[in-house]
Structure formats: C-alpha cells, structure tokens
Symmetry: C2
Subunit: 482 residues, 2 copies
Amino acid sequence: MTDPNLENRAPKDLPKAPDAPSVFERDGEDTHFGIPEETVNAVILALEANQDQLVRELMAPLHFADAADLLETLSVDDRRQLLEVAHEVLDPEFYSELDETVRDEAVDIIGLDAVAETVAELDIDDAVEFVDELDEHEQKHVLEAIPAADRTLIEQGLSYPEDSAGRLMQREVMTVPKFWSVGETIDYMRTNADKSATDFGNIFYDLVVVDPRHTPLGTVPLSVLLQSQRPVAITDIMHEEMKLVPVDLDQEEVAFLFRQRDLVSAPVVGDDGRLVGMITIDDVVDVIDEEAEDDILRLGGLQEDDLYAAAVDTTRSRFSWLFVNLMTAILASSVIGFFQGTIEQVVALAVLMPIVASMGGNAGTQTMTVAVRALATKELTTTNAMRQIGKETLVGGINGILFAVLMGNVAWLWFSSPGLGIVIGLAMIINMLVAGVTGAAIPIMLERRGIDPALASSVFLTTVTDVVGFLVFLGLGTAFLL
Amino acid sequence: MTDPNLENRAPKDLPKAPDAPSVFERDGEDTHFGIPEETVNAVILALEANQDQLVRELMAPLHFADAADLLETLSVDDRRQLLEVAHEVLDPEFYSELDETVRDEAVDIIGLDAVAETVAELDIDDAVEFVDELDEHEQKHVLEAIPAADRTLIEQGLSYPEDSAGRLMQREVMTVPKFWSVGETIDYMRTNADKSATDFGNIFYDLVVVDPRHTPLGTVPLSVLLQSQRPVAITDIMHEEMKLVPVDLDQEEVAFLFRQRDLVSAPVVGDDGRLVGMITIDDVVDVIDEEAEDDILRLGGLQEDDLYAAAVDTTRSRFSWLFVNLMTAILASSVIGFFQGTIEQVVALAVLMPIVASMGGNAGTQTMTVAVRALATKELTTTNAMRQIGKETLVGGINGILFAVLMGNVAWLWFSSPGLGIVIGLAMIINMLVAGVTGAAIPIMLERRGIDPALASSVFLTTVTDVVGFLVFLGLGTAFLL
C-alpha cells in the first residue's frame, strides 16, 4: 500500500534529484530535523519508475542516519528495491542505524560478501553489534572474509556477555603515563595522530592517566588539557573521582551511571583493574533509548518493537501475550459464572459489573506505572518501598470513596435502587483499595524475584482487579439484593 | 513509615560515619552504582537519633547526585530534617538533581536567601531551570539577591520559550575566527584559560569556527584539534556539515537531532543566524529521559511523576483521569443496559461478555503502544501511516480468527451451546479487527490534530473496544440465541 497522493501523480511528474539538503532548514513554524517528506516521495517515485540512477543520486548525498530513516519508512518491496539498486552508495554506518528487523532484510538482499566489507569498515563496537545479530553460519562467513586484525577484535567483543559494558566500549583509548606533563601529552598526540583523526573517525573526549600496570588513575577532559599550561603535570589536572566501569557490567547500570553523573565517557576495566576500553555517551544514549522503549513496549503487552516486522511475525509475537490475557479473562469470567443465579434475578448487576472492574484496573495501572518507572530509575528502593505501598493504599482508598459516592448515586438513580447504589459503592472502595496495594506491591515483588516488572505486572494486576471487582460486587449483590 | 528492620535496632547500634565510598565498588555479582543501602540506613538512623553532626559527616563526602538520590528515598519528615541540619554541606548542584516536587519542598525549608546563594553558583542553564520553577514572588526575591551579571544571564534564559533550545544551551562558547591556525587556537585557549577550567567548571567538546558576523561556519572536535599540526588552518579541520539548532526549537526536536546524529554538542543560533550558545549532550540526555518518561506515564493514565508527591496531591491529580474513565465505563455499561432482556434469558452472555471486551482492549493496546512509540521517534510518518493501519488491521483480523476458534470452543464446552460458541467467535473477530484499526488510527489522528497521542489514545481506544465488544456480542446473542 503506498500513499494515495502518490498514485495519482503521472510518471512525467518525476522530480529531479534535489540539491543536497541545506544544513539549516526552516519550514514556517515547524522547524524540524529528520528526513524531509519531499525527499521520501522523490525516492518512492524514482523506485516506481525504475529510475535506478536517480535513486542513487537521491540517496548518495544523504547523511547515513537520514538514509536509514528513509529506508525504514518504505514498504518491504520498496526497501528491497532500494537496497538492490543503491546499496553501493550507502555509508557502512547506514547499517548500524537500522532497526534490527530491517537490517536482517538488508543482509539477505546485499549478500554476505557486501556485509563483510561493511563490517570491516565499522567501528569495532558497531561491528560487534552487527555480527552478533547474524545467524551462526552467516557470522562464520563474514568473520572469515574480513582482515585478521579486525576479526580478532570483533571476536573479543563477542566474547563479552550480551548487553554488557564490554559490548558498548571502544577498544582504542588515549592513555597517558602519570609522569607526563601537559606539553608532553599534547606533543605525543600530535606526533602519533591517528591518520583518520581529521576525518572524524575516532573522536574522544577524555584522556585516561594510567600507572605502569595500565590501571586508570584519573581522567582529563580535553578542554581542561587545552586550557592548562605546558609544564603542568598531567596528574595535577586529572579527575581522580572518575567512575570505573567493570567490563561485564550490565548496560542498564552503565546507562544509570552516565545519566546520574552527566558523563560523556568512562574507562572500562577488567577483573584485574586494568584499562580495557572506554565507553562514550553516544552508545549510552542508544541504551537509554532502548531501555525506555523496552519499558513502554512491555507495559503495552509487547515483546519487541514490531513496527517493521511482517504481519505474520507480528501476529505470532503478539499471540502469546493475548493468550495469557485470555486465560486471566476466562478466570475472571468463571467468577461471574458462580453468580449466574443472582444475575438472572438482578440483571442490573451484569450491567454495572464492568464499571467496578474497569475502575479498579485503571487505578491499579496508574499506580503500577509509577512503580515500574521508579524501579527502572532506581528511585524506588528497599528504603521507601513500604512507604510507597502505604501511600498508594491511601490514594486508592480516598479515590475509592470519592468514586463510590459518585457511582453509588448514578446507580441509585439509573436503576431506582438505593441498595444497588450501596453495593456498587462498597465494591468500588474495596476494589480501588486493592488496586492501590497490588499496583504498587506487584512490581516491587517481581523486581525482588528478578522478573522484569514492566513485562509481567499488568497481567497479575488486571487478574486481581477483575477477580476482586466481580467477586466483591456480585458477592455483595447476592448478600444484600436478593 | 520507616523500614521495620530499622525500628528494631537499638540506638546504641548507631553506625560510625563510613569512609567515603570507594570509586569502584563490587558487591558479589551485583556490581552496581547508585547510593549504597548502608549509607541510606546510616543517615536514617543518625536523623532518628538527632545526631546532626553525624548527618553532616555522612552527607558531606557524597557526590551531589548521590546526595540527591539519598534525599529522595527518605520520608517527607526525614527529608525536612536532613535539609535543616545538613543543607550547608551540600553542593549547589545537589538542587539541580532533585525531582521538582522535592526541590519545591527544599526551597521552603532552606529559605530564599540560601536559594539565591545556590542559584548564583550554578551553571546558567541549571540556574534558569531552578528559578523558572519558583513562584513569581520567590523569583523576584531570588533574582534581586544575586549579582547583576548572573541576573541578566538568567533573565535572558527565562525569556526563551519553555522547553526550547534556548533553555538548554550554555551561553559560553569557545569560538575561533576562520583565519586562525591550530597553533594560534591552542595558544589562545591556554592564555585565556577560564580560571575554573581545571576544577571542571566549564567542560566543552567542540570549538565553533565563526565568521566576523559570528555566524557558525563549522565545528572542530577537541580531539581533532589536538591531533592536528600547529600550522594547519582551522578551516581545514572543521566539520562543515554541522547541524545548527534554532534558539526557539522545541527540546524534543533537539533530542531527536542529538540521538539521530550521535552528537555531543551543537551550536545554537538566533533568527539572524548568529551564534548564541551551545547545547551539550548532558542536558539532552535529561530531555530524552523526560520525553520517554512522559510517554510511559501518559500511557499509564498519569499527568506527571507523582512518586514524591503527598498522598492528597497524588489523589487529586489521578482523579481526573479516573473520572474520564468512569464516563467511558458508564457509556459501555449503558450499551449492556439495552440488552437486559437478553441477559435475563441467556445469562451465559453476562458471564462471557467481559472476555470479548478485554481481548479487544488488550489487542488494541498492543497496536496503540507501537504506534505511540513510533510517532514519538518519528518512525511513523505520513509515508507509512496507511500501510501501518493496513498491517494492524490484518494482524487484528488473524489473531481475531485464532482466538475466535479457541474461545468459541471453550464457550461451547462450558455452556454446552454451539450457538454461543459461534456468537462469541464472531464477536471476537469483529472486535479484534476493530481494535487493530483503531489502535493504529487513533494515535495517528490525534498526532495530526496536535493532541499528544500518549495522553489521549487509550481513553478513545478502550471506549471503542468496550462499546463494540458489548454491542456486537450481545447484539449477535439477541439475534441468534433467543
């Protein structure tokens, strides 16, 4: 399916390749970055007209990040066609910017030899990430096809646990012996300049001062180095309070550290305390994004971002979550089943029962969301866990009373039954109180048991609020209205 | 409420102030950063015993970010006591790290004169943020009490729109005229060194090369400058493809740019194209966090992070969302109300109807979550919107058929009624199809109308899936089972 506006255009309307986008585009009030829609449409038209040369001319001037965004907005067929005709004009870093699903597609299209060439040109951390996502036989093929020095570095990278600091780090670190001066350091950097330095291949922000064992003693921001006099000892300007990252540390902890301390880079050390690499903020920003995205998706009942996945894969991956929910829904329904006799006599109970369950579910979801987020940011700890559960119980109770009065009156007027109003009011107080307690307690308990609270909390929560909601409302109805 | 484990300890167990935490702590497998629980407990015990001097000794060696985290985990009373006895040992930056609610409390406790002293010592961007959150009369008091030069800068900062690039930027930028060489640049930086440079007051990562009008021509990463030979012209090593940020650009767009291009800093320009400041990654990381947090909270039905708010404020802020949900729940119930006659005759419909509504709601939430997230990251655009809606309709339809077969058989066996099985199966197919379409279409339509999709989508969605679920299931039941 393509944009209907496009299909109406005649092929003769095919646009020329526009000038490379200006560095500073303003578009009325809506100044924004990202790939302009005209460029996307021009590429789609060129693809439809099979104007391969035009496609290449349109793609070549784009920044690799824009090119990746552009590819991702296309349909599966257009993606394939674009890669087939234009992959040779794309920067290797283009592939690092792609979503995993789309990168898998790209590997199939461009072939393993082109993948090997691409991987050989990437920074080691990006190369490791790319290779890691390949199948075993693809990995073997690609690793064999790239130069031995790079291969060793990539294999070393792959040896660190997934999602660990070792996977995020750069292996090349600018280190300085502790007895050097500022002048000696600058002279050394200038003489031993990385040839790629001036084409921005290897940008760094801090030096690491090391002892002869290669143990980090401190870091020196480059701006501090540049503003210091040449004779000053490097140890006089180094930052000793640096945080050292163990190479096997989980990336979530790395992200927490960078965020909490506003770092741009941090030295990574092995078990023996020696420097093995450096993590820079750009890789951590990706992790921060990923962690937030994971939480959002899991709270929404998804295992992964399936925006680019084929419909059949998406259907399959969502099925399991829906299946779990079906089980809890059947459980809740079986509670209603016990009260069939009551419902036959007071059918108004059937009309009102979803309100009790739904208000409990929504109140519980509010509480759960705060708790899940606070656990992720380490704001909810053993110190304040009991206090939070207490507070949420209170909030649930107060809102329960407010909504009980409100809904009790509505029910009374609707069905002209004061008894029904009292029953629904009591049921709402109890269910919203329970929602407050469990909305806070479930994520905390899951976290303590090492289960991702974002993933599992909502199933438990809605089970509780549905079962309690139906049970209390219909139970009270049976007791007082028959 | 305090941790029960603590209350059992006798006062004589009061710990001594521990040594300042080591820079590299390992704790079994669970190496992690953040404030150690022992320190928190030690502070709580010292507060309970009114050992003011001990509290100060415990707080003084902490990094300001850890001190802020520690304060936030305490109860309201402990927070007040801690600030009263220890606020003079805390770094001014401590206040920048606090959650807004907690910072408001702190302002009341330490008083406006202490706030003014603190603000005067902060970086301008942090000072602006702090002052902006004060009441009008507090702002006036604080601004009058700080030195004129700082006051002007802060007032300038406040004049930019909230959440704009102007609020995020640093005003001090290291600029270089375009005719300089690498050597001249380094000599200039060394001679004009900021006195605070070596105590890490003003760290930067890029120079900006400007023309005589102060229009940015390019940026030079410090690592490139340091690795270039002294006679090289600065214009030969500058990065001309830099992205310039308009001073009134929304912070979301700034975050998108930094994330997409892996930037650590970007020059900010006024309407006339002249350089007015520089944004660095540490401020953008906060924005990225904030945006993700806002999405998570809004999807969960919350207006703001109320973790630290008092129970009464939390109750009030959650009430409005729950009220909206009550209205939609009453609407859904009124649909059931039309079918009271049917339910009296076939009470099994009342037992099963929550399943139809709940499966639609869950399937729709999955779709909506993907769409909301993809809109936030600009992955969902006009180019692929129709395609996504089409795909989600397909996914909803396929899963609808699968669950229809499953649940149809369950209903048949449970109530020994093949007709009931067919009715619930058909209702589930229709509701999950509708859930797929609306789950994708609602966020897209809201975004086009300028309404935050994370905030409003789920109300519309659950209304649709509840109303359609009850209507179709009970309607089909009335048609075929009576």
